[in-house]
Structure formats: C-alpha cells, structure tokens
Amino acid sequence: MAEALQPLGRDAPKAGFPARGLLGWVPALTLATFLLPICVGLLGTWLPAFGYLPAIGGAAFSLEPWRALFASPGFERMLALTITSGFLSTAIAFCLTIWFVAACHETRLFAALRRLMTPLLAVPHVAVAIGLAFLLAPSGFFFRLAAPWLTGSEIPPDLAILPDPYGLALALGLVVKEVPFLLLITIGALDQVGAKQRLATARGLGYGPIAAWMKTVLPAVYPQIRLPVYAVLAYALSVVDMAMVLGPGTPPTLAVQILRWFNDPDLSMRFAASAGACLQLGLVVLGIALWHGFECIAIHQARAASFAGRRGGSGKVQARAAGLAMAVVVALGLGGIAVMAVWSVARRWRFPDAWPSAWSLETWSRHLDGVAISGWTTLGLGLAAAGLAVALTLGCLESEQRVGRRPTHRALWLLYLPLLVPQIAFLFGAQVLAFRLGWAGTWAAVVWSHLLFTLPYAFLALADPYRALDERLLRTARCLGASPARVFWRIKLPLLLRPVLISFAVAFSVSVAQYLPTLFIGAGRVATLTTEAVALSSGADRRVLGVYTFLQAALPLAIFALAIGLPGRLRPFGPAREAGK
C-alpha cells in the first residue's frame, strides 16, 4: 500500500492513517491541485476586471475596464474572428473526424492514417502552426513548388492567404492539430460502446456502412467524446500561441489581444486585459452552451430522420473523399514539421527555389548550447509533469476501484476544468499567487502549472483501459491471497504497462506544448523549447525556428516511440499487447 503511493510519499503522513483512507484522499488531492490555482487565478483576474488592482492604483471597484474593453478599436472584428475561427475549426475537426470514422472504419486507409495520428498528436501546437505557416504563405513551400512555371513569376503573389482577414489559416491549423485528438478519443470510445455489434446489427438490417455508423454508433459514441469536444472548442476559442503565428494581427483574436494588453507598457491596459480575460471565459461558456444547443437540435433531427429508415448507399465515394481529406490533414501537419526540419539545415532558401540553394549545419552547431539547455529543461519538466500526472491518475483509479465508486459526472467536469477554462483567464491571477508564495520561477511551480493540463490528458488516456481490466483476474488474484497492493503491482501494472506508458507519453507531449503557463508561472526564467520557439519566432529566422520546431516535435515523438516500443521489448507476448489495444 505504502509503495503504491510512493510518488506522493513526501506529502503522506508517516503513520496513523489506514492505507485505504490514504488512497481515498488521492482524488481529493488531485482535484485540489487543479481547483485551487484556477479559482485563485480567476479571482486574481476578476478583481482587476472590476477596477481593483491596488499596485497600479486601482483601489475602487468600477466598470471602467469593461467600458475600455468594449470601446477598444476593432472589438467587434476581434469577437467575430474569435467566434468564427473557434467554431469553424471545431465544427470542421469534429465533422471530419466523425465522417472519416463513419466512412472509412472498414478500410485499410483507416488503420494506416490512425497510426500517423499519434505522431501528429504528439507535436506541439506551435510547431504545427510554424510549419503550416511556411507551407501556406504566398512565398511558402506550395507556392515555391508552383513557381515560376505555374504562377509565371519569380515574385510571390500578393494574396491574402497568411494572415487572412477571416482567421481561416488559424482555423485550418486548429483542425490539423485537433483532428488527431478527436480521432483517437473517438476510436477509444468505440470499444466501450460495442460498436462492432451495433454495426453488424444495422448492416444486417440493410443499412450502408456510413448510415449504420451514423445512426447506431454515433449516438452511443457522442456522449463519450462530448467533454473532449467541449475542450477542443474551448481551446479553439482561446488559443494564443497558434493564433500568434497563423491568425491575423489587425485586429487579432480576442485571446491574443488580451495577451497584448497584459504586456502593454501602459500598465493601465491591464484593467482592460482582465476584463477581456473574463469576457474570454464568458465566450467559452457561451460557446459550449451554444454547441450543446446545436447538439440537442441535431439529436432531435437525427432521431426524427432515422424513423424514415433510409438505408444509405455503399459509401465508397464518400470513403475515398473522407480518406483523402484526412490524408491532407495529416500531410499538412507532418509536412510542415518536415519542411521546418529542412530549414534547420538550409543556409539560403529563397523564393522561388523548391529546395535550399545552400545547405549548412551551422545553425545547429551555433545553437547547440542554447538548444541543449532548453531541451534538458523541457525534458525534465515533461518527465516530472507526466510522471506526477500518471501517478495521480493511477492513485485516483485505484482508489476508485477499491472504494468501488466511479467519479460522478460532475467530478469529470472538474477534471476537465483546466481544459475548459481559457488559460489566459486565470494565469495572470495564478502568477500573482505564485509570486506571493515565492514560487514563481521555480521548477516546482512550473511543473505544477503543467500538471493542470497533463493530468486531464493522462486520466483520459488511462481511465478506460484501467476500468476495462477483467475484474475476474483481479478477484482471482485476491482469492489467491494477494493484498490489494500486490495485485496493483504484480497484476494491474504489468497488464496495463502499455496504456500507462502511452498515457505518460501523452502527458509528456502536453507538457512540452505548454506556452502560456511556462511563461507566466516560470517568470521567464524557465526556458523550454516551446517558449524559446515563440520568442525566436518574433525574430523570424526560419533556420533557427527550424531547429527548435524540429526538436519540439522530436522530443515527444521519441517518448512516444519508447512508450510504444518498450512494452514489446519487456514482454514479447501476452498481456501488454492485449491490454493496450
């Protein structure tokens, strides 16, 4: 028992607590890990939004910050841009995912693309955005391939592609990054709802593959993926780092503008920034409510339509179209990383050359030191944040199984809170808290801030395989005289080795991708590959960006490769494979 809690050993009282009680505290401790900083952070943001920030002379409550917010130039455009890019990207990512699974679930392409999704999931958002920006720009890779023989000019066309005024490039970037997440979540839910038998039943009743999937599997799958979809929507509505690279600048999306205000040398802008951060939260809440509204309408419509009994066609054309669309998404995501890797070894690569005209390893040699430092920091933070996340997740799940109580729906919402509350809405307040405790800029605080985001993902990745463990095996072990701790260490962990490692890798990649938390809580002293990449992106030397982008992608990928390859090496057959499917 005590060893089961090893990761928490320091906080655990030495004696006096019965083992069961101690483990029972893990879910509460886990929730407190989230709720405390988020609540305090929100408060620290809400007070200035109503004029209270004594340090810069805001001593009385007022609505002036809101007035300033609503009167800020381009405010309506900002809102419109945020809402359209957020909703558009989520809707496209969701529909594409569902369409692809519905149309292609029985094709070979499905398995192939599914395997490519994991690397794309592992790559941080900024890296995808930087890669995509270079692919799409009028002077970017695609136009270089087309020029001059197709465009007829040595000069790039003056097209409003990147940035485009409607945030479409941003929406595309979000789609590329969110589709793998939604797809893997959806596939994970398929087994739980008995998709195979549902499909077989419906096909036996004469339904085509797509109609069968949409009418019988989707209604069961959707409740399972609803929270992740909300998280995607919340993220898309409040994304900062991707919007800085792909979104328009005059005006930008609301979240980027808020960050600009927070960073404005005119400190009184901080009031408007805080009001904006509150509005951002409201926007996300409203967005989720709206989405939920659409959901209800869609479910009602679909039920009515399903009464008519239309069987749908063979779906072959659709399968090809959906497969192609998905392949494009994967190609854009991974292709962007690939061209940035090429940039890292380029010396000169001007428009309209399809490939660099001069190559050099100088960028690598010149940046090796800087890269090594931030690389090690990224690795250390990632390992700590992912390790803690997996340990807490295991503690929660084990406690849940021993106490015999599944978390309520509400508790799940709490777990998702960090993914639903926009980062910008609580990080300023959380930063003040960190300073007050003297923790800002310390590793522990940054790991904590990452933990807010690694934990939900680790939980997401591990909960289902954990709960799916054949209970009879565990009961058999107990009846053979094994203590719960022994069952945990000798039966569960070996059986779950693969999902545990995968969930660790997912959490690690989430930690690598964190930009705002590292920036705010790290007080700028903790430099990761991601913060360096964003800082350097303002310097716009693509070769250096290439180095950082490549490493940013390579590090989580390496951890994923280990997570997938290791169990096979440790145990060449049996449970690890089975449990990980």
Partner: protein
C-alpha cells in the same frame, strides 16, 4: 584593478581593462564589484536576434571571467512581458529577491516602469565607464524619448531608423516620406511597415509625423489636448490614407514585427524592410538572412534616432552584479565588439574620439561591408517625439486601421 589585469590575456583587452575610469568612484565601485562577485544576474533581454543572443552570451563569459558574476540571459519575446512580471511581483509584495536583475529597455517600457516605481536607482552616475559616454553629442543617452533618464537606466547602444531595400528589385528609393507614396503607387504591394505598436512600425509613423506635421517643435512637448493632437497629426492620417491602398496586401494586413518584415523581404514578398541599426543590413547579408543585393537607405533630411538602455528593477536580487554588467557593457571593448557588423553592428554610445589610443584603435579596426553607410552618409538624427504622442498615435492608428 591589478587583479583584473592579470586575468586578461588578449593584448587589446589588456590595454582596455587597465584604463582607469572616473576618478573618485573607485572605492565605492570596488565595494560594488566585491558584492557582485558570486552573484547571478538574470538579464531579461529581447531574444529575437541570434547575433544579439550570441553577444549577450559573450558578455556572460567575460563577466564570469573578470568579476565572477554569472549572467543568465532570460530570453524575452517582448520587453513589456518583463514590465508585467515586475509588476506582478510588486502586486504580490515581493520587494526583494525579484526575478529580474537587469532589463534591456527604452521608451514606453522605461516610462511605464519609472512611473510605477518599478526601477532601482539612480545608479548610472556611479558606473565608472559612464564617464566615457558621449552625453553631449548623443543627447538621447540621457533623454529617453524626451523623458530624462535620471540615472535610472544606463545607455547601451544607439539606434537610427533606416530602410533596407533589395537593390536588385528596387534600385531607386524615395528621398522623403512624401515621395514614398508615389514610389509605392508605382509598385503596388511591394512596401509595408509592421503594425504598431511594434516599435519599428511606430517609428515609421513617428518619422512620417516629424516630416509632415506643421510644427515639429511641438512634438518635443507632451500632447496638450485633443485639438492640438488633431492639428498636429491630420497630415499624417491623410498621408497614410493615401499610402495604404498601395501597400502589401492592400494595407489590409501588416507584418507582425520588424523581423517578420525582414523575412518577407528575403522571401521576395516586399522590396523594403525597416531597421533601427544601420549596420544590421550588412550583418543580415553576412548571416544569410538577406540577399547580397540588400542595401541601407536613409532620408537626406535625417531619420529618427534613439538610445537603448539597461535598467535594474526595484526588487532585483543581484543589484551589484547588475551594475557590474551595466558598467562592462559601456566599456570600450564591449562597445567596439558590439559595433562590429560581424558580431552585431549596434552603434556605440561612447565618445570614440575621447577614448585613449587603444580604445580608438579598436573602433578604427572594425570591418565594413558594402551595405554599411559611414556616419556622414547616415545623415542627421531626428529626435524622438515625447512618448505621449506615440501612445496617442498608436491608439489612433489602431482605431483607424485595425478594425
């Protein structure tokens, strides 16, 4: 002093290090150096340029070797982030042991920190090497955007607004802001400027304002009121309204920053980028960031110039170490290295002609590239307007063009 001498190897460095700075400061300064020894200085500095980062790393090595001071470059995308952080520390009541020891700063950010009591000092007069600074010839070393520095920030380098153009595609450049409109009309989509409040974008607006406003003298005073602002800036808005339709993307989008526009120039999307360092073009070429045909262009009537500084926050953990760094930054050796286009290419704040012989020799030996202009060719330096103008202009620009 002797201790330092023994440690230095290079002959030039030997001579320089032995230079005796301002008399009388000796004892107090040695106290500072003694206190600095063993301290770690977290220097928050914009990190968008690799050459600058490399230079800062060199400063760190020298400080460790000479004074036993560790320098950590905290890389910053936007200096305003640092202001935010120090502010957050003040909000949290961190009066000591703050996270920032030294910050690269000027203009609005300096004004914001000064006005909110976020700065330590005055300390600049106590720096021995400050005596070498050309405070008469380069008035902006003590007046930052018309605001007296009052010893709260130490000058580090000189900036002067200029254009970099690709001479292969745009051989002829306009001679004035007014001529720029015709130039862009003749080649639509080939000119751009970064969106304010990016400092290069804002400087472009200031340059236009200084050239176009009826009474430039008024710009040296704070804005007195709306009517005065409207009178002074009306020609600017008329000018921009005429200019924008011919810009890159039809003036509907603007490059995000100066470096982003440098990338656009290299990509061939535009023919011109803006710069604050006249030697920058040469080093861009040397580093493979711009084509060999890139050239510097300034207006004969002069362009805006200013000084950039380093300052110490009120709650810095290593104030002595930070002062030691600030002093080293204005040593002839550090300044000459900084002005070298192969290193960075940032003009010195020192009065070179007043240095001793080895010091002058360092500057005389600096290399020059085809894209480097001599001080005479660079023309006169126009003074920055008072920051209140900039704040108003940026807000008005956003109101008019960012919607």
């Amino acid at each position: 002093m002797m201790k330092r001498v023994i440690n230095v190897c290079a002959a030039a460095a030997l001579a320089l290090a032995a230079q005796t700075p301002g008399a009388g400061a000796g004892t107090a300064w040695e106290g500072v150096l003694a206190e600095a020894k063993g301290q770690t200085v977290y220097w928050n500095a914009w990190a968008g340029d690799e050459r600058i980062n490399a230079y800062i790393a060199w400063v760190g090595e020298e400080m460790r070797r000479r004074h036993g001071v560790e320098v950590v470059h905290v890389k910053v995308a936007d200096t305003a982030e640092v202001v935010t952080r120090v502010l957050a520390e003040k909000v949290a009541g961190t009066a000591e042991g703050g996270s920032v020891d030294l910050v690269w700063i000027n203009g609005e950010n300096f004004a914001a920190m000064r006005d909110n009591g976020l700065l330590f000092g005055p300390f600049v007069e106590g720096l021995p090497n400050f005596a070498l600074v050309d405070v008469e010839g380069k008035p902006s070393t003590t007046v930052d955007f018309t605001i007296p520095t009052e010893g709260l920030e130490a000058p580090w380098g000189m900036a002067k607004f200029n254009f970099i153009h690709d001479s292969a595609r745009a051989p002829e450049m306009p001679a004035t802001m007014a001529a720029l409109v015709d130039w862009t009309a003749a080649r639509p989509g080939r000119f751009a400027y970064p969106a304010p409040p990016d400092f290069l974008g804002s400087t472009f607006l200031k340059q236009a304002l200084v050239e176009l406003t009826p009474d430039p003298g008024k710009l040296q005073q704070p804005v007195t009121g709306d009517p005065a602002f409207e009178t002074a800036t009306a020609p600017l808005w008329a000018y921009l309204d005429a200019l924008h339709p011919h810009l890159w993307r039809g003036g509907q989008a603007f490059p995000a920053s100066g470096p982003a526009q440098r990338q656009l120039l290299d990509d061939g999307e535009v023919d011109v980028t803006l710069s604050f360092y006249p030697s920058e073009a040469a080093s861009f070429i040397a580093n493979g960031l711009l084509p060999d045909s890139a050239r510097v262009h300034v207006f004969a009537s002069g362009t805006i110039g200013n000084t950039h500084f380093v300052a110490i926050p009120f709650n810095a953990s290593a104030k002595a170490g930070a002062q030691a760094v600030a002093n080293f930054l204005i040593s002839p050796e550090a300044q000459a290295r900084k002005q070298n286009i192969e290193i960075w290419g940032d003009d010195t704040v020192l009065a070179v002609e007043r240095l001793d012989e080895p010091g002058r020799a360092l500057f005389a030996a600096l290399p020059r590239g085809p894209a480097t202009l001599s001080p005479e060719e660079l023309g006169p330096t126009l003074l920055e307007p008072h920051p209140s103008w900039m704040t108003r202009i940026e807000a008005e620009w956003l109101r008019r063009y960012s919607r």
